[in-house]
């Protein structure tokens, strides 16, 4: 132990720096001021001040999703910490490594309802992997090391350190984190034994499958299994469908890519899942948006489930073979052990791909009006067409960050991702307001790449204040505002399942051109198909951030759709089919 003394605040920052932290975000306030005071002594740590703590939380998420490194979020007690809660819950649902550092009132007054005191640990417990309040400066170094480790190991996720003001000020000689941590409950994943019986069982099922589909989830991105996924699919000749978070893990142009599965999944993906004899789930958790009616899901198929979190196995869908481990490692083992399909399986592949291709044709037919015309019933632009143009313009190479709603689903469907991990969205929690701050985080992580924030008029206004962060940090982000004047996704549900009772979904929107002007952001308005590409071109060339506002058709509906709790065989294919199946034909 060194005899040098430091205060708790400095030890906190020093430990973060020792663990390679280069950047933090957050918002200052009373109970965290001593730690902000010390920032000046840590020039190696850049600090981004957001305009709202939730914004900071999503900036950090964008950064971590893009580059894999932690960006701690430091906020004050009470309102600062409660403002952060949504971003933490979102990180938990989407397994994003996240470190929240919340100031707290001094230990002397904890429990007295002191000014800006709230029970942050109590709030954080259900939405974090781990949360602790530090009671002594002596504990800070070890606690920070512990939190950094927990956030980034096993199934990654959020962690919270709550640090009372007096602990930040108190001096300690414990300035170095111990080398070894005692964390019995943190599951880490050493390479699996290639001779596990489950590996052989999985290989046997794969070899014999006549109609297999891989279900590719976020785990592929989180374990960086880009090469392994492709090799596994190619070697076994298995087509792949993707959860919302699995998108961008295999180039869209790859012949085995069936696109997204689930509620708004592609016909070819959902039909393949419906008819498969083997589902190979790779780092995904059978969310209800993916399964539809759970009791009927995968009824006629075997299931191989490869997953890092043992509590996800058999949680929703029972696995015939379950392999618990890091996906990249498991795929490497499967690739090495796979020695070809049986003759029967090989022979039946052609028929399987034929049926898949028929469904691809069907999709293409239903999307024809989007590609050939591009306007909706009210002669305004279709979101799907705008995304399609963006996809063509960027050749599927750029970073796409979205908000939540119809524009998000159309982005997931019509952007053809060619590059690994270039898709950033709030999936599990589905948080409107994710887009703009997350785009800031992605841009900070990838300063030399183009970042497109695809947002809706509703979602944009949930964290619109982060335009101020863009202004202050002089960032160059391309904001595509798909304005349909409505909370479109909710309106879609009202249209389909609530008797067209369009309650509280119409928005009186501000003049976005003036808002852009106020924040020093370049602005354009687009209402014609032929103006889309020129506007994208302009946006890309602008050295400032830009907003391109599109006049979108409020009648556009995202198809196909498997409504919540429905079975796959009742997938609604297009508008005509919807009128029929929902008994709405007049």
């Amino acid at each position: 132990m060194s005899s040098k003394k430091m205060n708790g605040a400095s030890v906190l920052l020093k430990t973060l720096q020792d663990f390679g932290i280069e950047i933090m975000t957050g918002y200052i306030g009373g109970a965290i001021m001593p730690t902000f005071d010390e920032l000046i002594n840590f020039p190696g740590i850049r600090f981004i001040t957001s305009r709202h703590e939730q914004g900071a939380g999503f900036i950090a998420q964008g950064y971590t999703r893009a580059c894999g490194k932690l960006m701690p979020v430091m906020v004050t007690s009470g309102p600062g910490a409660t403002n952060l809660v949504t971003a933490v819950a979102d990180a938990m649902m989407d397994s994003v490594a996240f470190l929240a550092i919340t100031g707290q009132v001094s230990t002397k007054v904890i429990g007295t309802d002191a000014f800006q005191e709230s029970d942050i640990i109590g709030l954080m417990y259900p939405i974090t992997k781990y949360a602790e309040m530090l009671l002594k400066a002596d504990d800070v170094a070890e606690a920070v090391a512990r939190s950094v480790f927990i956030a980034q190991n096993g199934r990654t996720g959020p962690v919270c350190i709550d640090i009372p003001k007096n602990v930040q000020i108190e001096e300690t000689e414990n300035i170095d984190a111990p080398k070894a941590l005692d964390l019995p409950g943190v599951q880490t994943y050493p390479p699996i034994d290639p001779d596990l019986p489950e590996i052989k069982q999985a290989i046997d099922l794969i070899k014999e499958a006549k109609k297999p589909v891989a279900l590719v989830g976020h785990g592929v991105i989180l374990s960086q299994a880009k090469i392994e996924l492709r090799e596994f699919l190619e070697k076994t000749n298995i087509p792949a469908s993707f959860t919302l978070h699995g998108l961008s893990s295999l180039p869209a142009s790859h012949p085995l890519n069936l696109g997204m599965m689930g509620m708004h999944g592609e016909i070819e993906a959902n039909r393949a899942i419906e008819n498969a004899d083997l589902l190979i789930a790779l780092g995904m958790r059978f969310d209800d948006r993916v399964t539809g009616k759970l009791e009927e899901y995968a009824k006629n198929s075997k299931v191989i489930h490869i997953e890092i979190d043992p509590s996800e196995i058999n949680k929703n869908v029972k696995a015939d073979v379950a392999i618990n481990g890091d996906l990249r490692n498991v795929l490497q083992v499967l690739i090495a052990k796979f020695d070809g399909l049986t003759k029967e399986a090989t022979d039946s592949r052609q028929a399987w791909f034929d049926s898949i291709n028929q469904n691809r044709e069907l999709s293409r037919k239903y999307y024809k009006h989007i590609f050939e015309y591009g306007y909706g019933k009210n002669n305004r632009l279709l979101m799907s067409r705008i995304i399609h143009e963006l996809s063509e313009f960027t050749k599927g190479q750029d970073n796409i960050v979205t908000d939540v709603g119809q524009h998000q689903m159309q982005a997931a469907k019509f952007y053809k991702f060619e590059r690994f991990n270039t898709w950033f969205t709030s999936g599990g929690l589905g948080t409107m307001g994710f887009g703009l701050p997350a785009a800031i985080g992605v841009k900070i992580a990838r300063p030399n790449e183009e970042v497109w924030c695809i947002t809706g008029d509703g979602s944009f206004q949930m964290n619109i204040q982060e335009l101020g962060t863009i202004l202050q940090e002089k960032l160059n982000i391309n904001i595509l505002l798909l304005n349909n004047g409505y909370l479109g996704m909710v309106k879609q549900w009202q249209d389909m399942f609530h008797n067209e009772n369009f309650t509280e979904v119409e928005l009186t929107n501000p003049n976005f051109a003036k808002i852009a002007e106020g924040y020093g952001i370049a602005y354009r308005f687009v209402e014609k198909v032929e103006d889309i590409i020129p506007a994208l071109q302009w946006s890309k060339q602008e050295t400032r951030s830009t907003i391109v506002e599109f006049a979108c058709d409020e009648q556009e509906i995202v198809y196909p759709m498997i409504p919540s709790g429905w079975t796959f065989d009742r997938m609604i294919l297009n508008e005509d089919h919807a009128l029929e199946i929902l008994n709405k034909r007049k």
């Binding site: 640990i121 109590g122 417990y125 259900p126 992997k129 781990y130 949360a131 602790e132 309040m133 927990i150 005692d182 964390l183 019995p184 409950g185 943190v186 599951q187 979190d309 043992p310 509590s311 196995i313 058999n314 949680k315």
Partner: protein, 158 residues
């Protein structure tokens, strides 16, 4: 009487462990019957016994997996009742009957004891497995029961 499922947890004695477990139980809508925490032969390690009602049978592997994710948890398992000793302590306060021997003979049958005697009331103590505890309460029906309290179940594998 419905059979209970018992989960035995060993965890580091840190603030918040019990809270995390109970939050999980509420969040996942499991039906908690009893929960106890106590010291073990190893300093700094707590034994936590949790019981659930029978309706939750298929949820047990899931709750075990979820509890296992709590950082401070060293081990967790659903115990096999055939291979486990499960005990709790019951205290019952009854109105003092005219004839005390009636009550003492009943207590003797259940190998319990009279632990407090006042002018108005008697407090009885019985220890044992749940079946016996419930049996004792049924046997006391002829007396006027004023209060019942029990420790919750502690489980130990053979």
């Amino acid at each position: 009487m419905s059979k209970l499922h018992t989960i035995l947890v060993f965890a580091q004695n840190k603030r918040g462990v019990l809270e995390r477990i109970t939050i999980l139980i509420r969040r996942k809508m499991y039906n908690l019957e009893t929960i106890t925490a106590s010291d073990t032969e190893v300093e700094g390690i707590k034994r936590i016994t949790i019981t659930f009602t029978q309706g939750d049978a298929d949820k047990i592997p899931q709750i075990v997996a979820q509890i296992n994710k709590i950082v401070e948890v060293i081990s967790v398992k659903a115990v096999d009742s055939a291979n486990t000793v499960e005990r709790e302590i019951l205290l019952v306060k009854i109105k003092r009957p005219r004839n005390l021997s009636e009550i003492t003979s009943l207590v003797n049958i259940f190998r319990g004891s009279v632990v407090d005697l006042s002018e108005q009331t008697v407090i009885l103590q019985v220890a044992g497995e749940r079946k016996k505890i419930l049996g004792f309460i049924t046997a006391l029906k002829q007396f006027e029961i004023l209060e019942i309290g029990s420790s919750g179940i502690v489980a130990m594998e053979r």
